[in-house]
């Protein structure tokens, strides 16, 4: 099945079709030269388009249905992956997967917000939008990780914490607030990677860490571009403009000191070559993990606090004394 494509990918699709047309007539004289020329043109067009993605186009790539999701990464990166379920209070939130596995020689705790590949799975996974029980499940598993000295690796990919009646009744705000606070008390390394969407409190609720990685075509912000547009312009169609204004792309976030590293993706996005994406993510995680596991727990906690203590931009007039 062909991958769904975006409007801005049209020139690429056109060229690809031309090439496949020519390929079917491969025996005609002179064709192979034509194909070669077109392939070169295709490569150039791809670089042209993908290196100049607007913030809004990047948001769209981050949401591509075929983009690898948390479980795709988890199952290909971690061996002996063992999933565990439930928050021990209310339910098992399928929008987040939790468990344990090995990366190289290191056993770790793994948490990931999970979207579905199709509508049916998306309904079961609630499109990766967690309920309070999901945040509590994640914290329960993090505590187990801490107890048995298993560093925590977290995959972020959510359009937001779920805004529903049940979520409010069971304390969505409290669940997120408590997770944020308690993540500052965990004495094992926490490594975060934003692989797709990082929407607001929904992401931060499992997003406090010692080192924050972010995929090239992911976004992370206090509000979704659509949400922002509907508040500021009362029009969701202004999302492209608010995506621009919100500075939600990896290079912007790196500049603002909110993330630590950008993980490159294959040309056109992780969904165009998942296997190589798994490789790059795996080696990026392993590298940072090796550094973090050497740091004693109390130092980690202090460093994490200092990391977030510095965040924010304001002017300070020191009183003259």
């Amino acid at each position: 099945m062909a991958l769904a494509t975006f409007d801005f990918e049209k020139p690429i699709v056109e060229l690809e079709r031309e090439i496949s047309d020519l390929l079917s007539r491969e025996n005609e004289p002179g064709i192979s030269r034509k194909i070669k020329a077109l392939e070169q043109k295709l490569e150039k067009t791809k670089i042209d388009i993908y290196s100049k993605l607007t913030p809004w186009q990047r948001v769209q790539v981050a949401r591509h249905m075929a983009r690898p999701h948390s479980l795709d990464y988890i199952q290909s990166i971690f061996t002996e992956w063992t999933e565990i379920h439930g928050d021990r209070c209310f339910a098992d939130d399928m929008a987040v997967v939790t468990g344990f596995g090995n990366i190289g020689n290191q056993s770790v705790t793994v948490i990931g917000q999970q979207k579905g590949k199709d509508t049916k799975e998306n309904l079961a996974r609630n499109f990766g939008m967690m309920h309070p029980e999901g945040y509590r499940k994640a914290m329960r598993v993090m505590r187990i990780g801490e107890r048995f000295n298993l560093p925590i690796i977290i995959f972020i990919d959510t359009p937001g914490a779920y805004p529903g009646i049940g979520a409010e009744e069971r304390g969505q705000a409290e669940a997120i607030a408590r997770n944020i606070r308690d993540m500052f008390t965990l004495s094992v390394p926490i490594l975060i990677i934003i692989i797709g969407e990082g929407a607001s409190g929904g992401a931060l609720g499992i997003g406090v860490g010692d080192y924050i990685l972010m995929m090239e075509n992911a976004w992370y912000c206090v509000i979704s571009p659509e949400g922002c547009a509907s508040i500021l312009w009362r029009d969701r169609a202004m999302a492209a403009r608010s995506a621009e204004a919100l500075k939600l792309t990896p290079p912007d976030l790196l500049k603002l000191g909110v993330i630590d590293e950008i993980v490159p993706e294959p040309l056109g996005g992780a969904h165009r070559d998942p296997v190589s994406s798994f490789q790059t993510v795996r080696s990026a995680l392993e590298k940072r993990l090796q550094e973090l596991v050497k740091i004693p727990g109390d130092v980690l906690i202090e460093r994490r606090a200092q990391k977030y203590r510095k965040m924010g931009v304001f002017l300070e007039n020191k009183p003259e004394k």
């Binding site: 409010e168 606070r181 500021l232 204004a245």
Partner: protein
């Protein structure tokens, strides 16, 4: 054809106006039950309607006046200015917006912090100002709140935060989200040091503020019928496409679901706080007595 003739009529002139001259703002009409009373009486009743118990919004400074001991509040030096790190522009420059809020409220940003006494108990205090950008939390609010927590840790004083906020400040993008982490980090340290933290939720306290320090008090008090929650009711309604139940996300509802400790009328709020302080921080009072004797 006489019946088509134009009929004579008289023009009525209004009589001289003999209105009683009432200066603007003398009367107050309750926005909930439309009950009318003297503005002076309304203020004396702490901006609460005596008929329907509607709790009106209170500005930050008025809130300080009715919550803490008279003349006891000492504001922190106002040395933090908001700025525009994203160069955010929607229908207006963010900087221009800030200036207009500053003119409107006389504050640099949406929170007043300082030190105060409540029934003789010395406390660190933070009071949010809803009139400043909907009490939204940007870098300055996050920093001032964090510094308040740090002061309470350093001086070992209990801390009270009175919240009124629509959440994080969109115009500061991801940095405002990070304020949730920064403030919650400071609370983790406070909890470890066993210093009491009381949150008071007023109408409205939602989203980013509710999903960070507003939810993390040792005891959480709320005024009646305040809107309290994570997602806004409009967003929820759009998402689930159903009418929301009556009283949804109001103080009493949230209390009944186990996420608020006490819902109290404004007139009883101070006493409730004093009681809690007497249980959690008797030392905060002794400290004060010693220092006043030594003066």
């Amino acid at each position: 054809m006489t019946w088509f003739r134009k009929r004579k009529y008289t023009v009525l002139k209004p009589t001289e106006k003999k209105r009683v001259d009432i200066p603007d703002g003398l009367w107050h009409k309750c926005q909930q039950c439309l009950h009318i009373l003297l503005a002076r009486d309304y203020e004396k009743n702490l901006w609460v309607c005596p008929k329907c118990n509607f709790h009106d919004r209170v500005s930050g400074w008025d809130r300080i006046g009715i919550t803490f001991d008279p003349e006891s509040f000492i504001a922190d030096e106002d040395i933090l200015d908001p700025t525009d790190p994203l160069e955010f522009f929607d229908t207006m420059n963010y900087m221009d917006r800030l200036v207009s809020y500053q003119k409107k409220t006389g504050l640099k940003d949406a929170v007043i912090t300082g030190i105060a006494k409540c029934g003789g108990y010395k406390v660190v205090a933070g009071v949010m100002e809803f009139n400043f950008a909907g009490g939204s939390m940007g870098s300055v609010v996050g920093e001032k709140i964090t510094r308040a927590f740090e002061r309470s840790l350093k001086e070992r004083l209990p801390i009270v935060i009175i919240c009124a906020s629509g959440g994080a400040r969109m115009q500061e993008g991801i940095l405002s989200l990070m304020q949730m982490a920064k403030t919650s980090m400071a609370i983790a340290r406070l909890n470890e040091a066993k210093i009491p933290y009381i949150t008071v939720l007023t109408h409205p306290t939602t989203a980013g503020v509710m999903a960070s320090y507003a939810s993390l008090g040792d005891v959480i008090i709320a005024e009646p019928n305040a809107l309290i929650g994570f997602a806004g009711p409009r967003v929820i309604q759009q998402t689930i496409n159903q009418i929301l139940p009556k009283g949804f996300q109001r103080s009493e509802f949230v209390r009944d679901h186990g996420f608020i400790d006490i819902v109290t009328n404004r007139k009883d709020l101070r006493n409730t706080m004093i009681n809690l302080l007497s249980f959690f921080a008797p030392w905060a009072r002794e400290k004060e007595e010693v220092s006043s004797q030594s003066q």
